[in-house]
Symmetry: C2
Subunit: 134 residues, 2 copies
Amino acid sequence: MIGRLNHVAIAVPDLDAAIATYRDVLGAKVSKPVAQPAHGVTVVFIELPNTKIELLHPLGEKSPIQGFLDKNATGGIHHVCYEVEDILAARDKLKAEGMRVLGDGEPKIGAHDKPVLFLHPKDFNGTLVELEQA
Amino acid sequence: MIGRLNHVAIAVPDLDAAIATYRDVLGAKVSKPVAQPAHGVTVVFIELPNTKIELLHPLGEKSPIQGFLDKNATGGIHHVCYEVEDILAARDKLKAEGMRVLGDGEPKIGAHDKPVLFLHPKDFNGTLVELEQA
């Protein structure tokens, strides 16, 4: 069912410092910051040859990653995102297996303008999993 | 400097349960467990089209991931591994930039029989980073 690893998301408390680390120290190709007010984050894409790292920084007062940064002051890996061919079929299979889909269970339009869902980390070895329609 | 994302490593407290989740629930291609006594872990490779997930389970009494599992009982994302063309040049550049290389700073032979180094998570937004010679 799952296909490519679309990205690994890393929450960062200081976006400029994180950009400098990935661009200047690790020598990676780094995008300009992209504000995504609908998602409560500013995102920077680190483009690797085979996948992406996404740096996430809180935007606005109700950012979904603020709680994570409150618990992890230096930042940390927030989630992994796998691509699926058919997100509704994937969701229904997962629910039938007893896996918990976060929110109301309906796909939302994600940071890449494609439908996404998040799965409960306790059902996946402490890993927050995002599924994105390929 | 950094190239492909070689893998994302996820520490798991129950290897059989994690295998079942990735193979049967997420429908991924999952290897048999590989004991790596020199590294204190048993590893299962989840083969995605563009990269790998590595499930890590403690092996022996001094496993380097036991402390992580003591703090994260359900498991969690342990590290990301980036490939580099020349691990000694990468190490020297990182040290010159003030980044901390773990251990004695000399590359060790890693789980894929290639030289690897680990970098201090506090220098990389709370993310434990492994570098592997490509």
